[in-house]
Amino acid sequence: MIQSSNSIKKCYFIYFLSLFPLILFGIYKNGISLYLKDYVSLYGAIKPLLFIIIGFIIGSLVNYIYEVLIKKKKAKLVDIIFSSFHSLYGVLVACIISINTNIILFSTVTFIVLLVSKFIKINKINYIALTSLIIFFIMNLFNEFSFLNNYEASNNFNMNALDYLLGKGSGGIFTTNVLLLIISFIVLYNFKIYKRNIPIFATITFSILTIIYCLIMNDISNIMNMLFTNGILFSFVFIATDSVSSSYTKKGIVIYGIIVGLLTFLLYLVQPALSSLGAILIASICNSFIDLKFE
């Protein structure tokens, strides 16, 4: 039988290709540049890269444990690693969390959540958002959670639109550069499996509500800050579009995007740093219902 060239392996390739510039920038911003300014040690310089590698290894390990040790499947290691999106989930969790996250905490939570997710067969939720939120909550228990790295925490900045575009805003380790994020979105846009309407409608909804809110509150200068920080756009482009946990019907995808945008705005008013992840998690719980109602 014949198959199109679409495959999970191809998804990985496209996603990693689109993430690559953001990862390079994140390594520079949250590692190398801090090291050069003497804010962190050598370990701090490679910490962003470590998060990515560990995230990938944990995802792959979960796939290996489930497929080989539990399901006793015999296949090539590459086929096992790429049998589901779990390795990508590990990488995306590494992208969205704060640079201040403890690596052991990240590894443990990611491993447990991803492994448990393997056994849940119905009503899949967004495990990237869930893992990141658990990490944030645990961090919050011990000290106050912050996206700011050592350099950002010890300085005050007055930023303009260009600064945000070039990644000077705060957010997850690899999420701050809006310009590179737009390039990533363009790369993903033409990829058939990518649900492009989710980030488009989520961004439009969130932007409109943000602008209206800022106009009402007479705080126009805050628009950029609301839109471009806290990894919101990154979440729309990479996390909300997680194939498994989002809607898949034509209308469902549009509705899903609008719900994500709307919930992000509402949660932003309560807790800006976690708004997009919380919104995606809630929307993903409803994805089957959305598909059923808006086919």
Binding site: Q3, S83, K192, I193, Y248
Partner: protein, 371 residues
């Protein structure tokens, strides 16, 4: 695509296997001599004609189906000769309806049809049957369509042809001027345009939809031509022999009831994947105990390849690419009324399985499964 030159005959099989229909009246007994085109048995819906002349050896069971076995004497003896008609459009509508009934010429025949759609596009993109037949029998096909328009008083007639073979298009364009009632429709290469339901949907505009449609393919047309001209059905069918282990694709003229194992032995094909009726929605055979009938369009001989299914990733490609706008994922994973409705509407084109990145055979649950 590998080029095909012309039709290759594969008519030299020793034994012919013809299906024994349920609740049928049988007109033979073991040891009887059977003439070519003689009715062997019939039930309310169908008749079985012998495709060769020879002795009835008895019956056998192949893949849980019962077959009559006939020892081919290679003489193709006919019991009665009809004589050739000079003009095939001289039949009246009543005479034609009688012939359709007598020879079981057309499935779901509606004598009030006012729109005729002739499909000259093979159902799967690598099948070459209709292309080759259009090249080989251009005049006969056009004559027959023209005659059908006259006999059936057809208001609108479409001949759908793929534009990927310039030779076929050229031949048709050179001849179509003589047949002004035939509307030649050229379609670009697509994976599913040869599918009956999809083609009918494409060609029947709002205006035509109120008329019942008579759908025929090129093989049907040649069959009708033979009946109108010579008073007998074709005793053979056409199949494409292709695949990645075949150097040159062939269109074979094969006696109906030929065993696939005869073809496989003749072409020395061993230990390979054999898929019938295309790679999109076809059927992979476990062995060569398979009998060629009129529904078989192609045999693909491919290298052994195992594609593993993964879990559904909810990507929606099946929904986005479905030509009849159903939800193949829902149809595959559910058993409620909605899923049943989808199963009824599914045309089993196989596009959903083709696009699925997890390699799930989503069209498996379709009611219109490949026979």
């Amino acid at each position: 695509m590998k080029e095909v030159s012309n039709i290759e005959n594969f008519l030299n099989c020793d034994y012919i296997y013809l299906p024994i229909l349920n609740n049928s009246q049988i007109y033979y007994k073991e040891g009887d001599y059977i003439y070519k085109n003689e009715v062997l048995l019939e039930n309310n819906e169908n008749k079985v004609y012998s495709s060769v002349s020879g002795k009835v050896l008895g019956s056998t069971t192949i893949n849980n189906k019962k077959y009559i076995v006939i020892d081919n004497d290679y003489k193709d003896k006919l019991k009665t000769r009809f004589g050739t008609k000079k003009y095939i459009n001289k039949y009246s509508k009543e005479e034609f309806i009688e012939l359709v009934d007598k020879f079981n010429l057309i499935d779901n025949f509606n004598s009030n049809s006012k729109v005729l759609i002739v499909n000259g596009i093979d159902e799967y993109i690598e099948e070459l049957n209709y292309n080759v037949l259009l090249k080989e029998y251009t005049i006969q096909i056009l004559d027959c369509i023209d005659a059908l328009i006259d006999i059936m008083n057809i208001k609108k007639c479409f001949l759908a042809v793929s534009n990927n073979d310039i030779n076929v298009v050229d031949i048709l364009l050179n001849n179509i001027g003589t047949y002004p009632k035939i509307d030649l429709k050229l379609f670009s290469n697509s994976l599913t345009i040869g599918n009956k339901n999809i083609l009918i949907n494409k060609l029947t505009s709002y205006k035509n939809k109120k008329y019942p449609v008579l759908y025929l393919n090129i093989k049907d047309i040649l069959n009708i031509y033979n009946v109108l001209k010579k008073g007998r059905k074709n005793s053979y069918t056409y199949i494409t022999l292709t695949g990645n282990l075949i150097d040159y694709s062939k269109v074979l003229r094969v006696k109906i009831g030929t065993s696939l194992s005869d073809i496989v032995d003749y072409y020395k094909i061993n230990n390979k994947d054999i898929i019938i009726n295309g790679l999109l929605n076809g059927k992979k055979l476990n062995n060569t105990n398979f009998i060629i009938d009129n529904n078989i369009r192609s045999i693909f001989i491919n290298s052994n390849e195992e594609i593993k299914e993964n879990e559904c990733i909810n990507c929606g490609l099946c929904v986005n690419n479905c030509p009849v706008n159903i939800n193949p994922k829902y149809m595959y994973f559910n058993k409620d009324n909605k899923a049943l409705d989808y199963k009824k509407r599914c045309v089993n084109c196989g596009l959903c399985s083709y696009y699925c990145p997890s390699h799930i055979k989503l069209n498996k649950g379709c009611n219109n499964d490949t026979k």
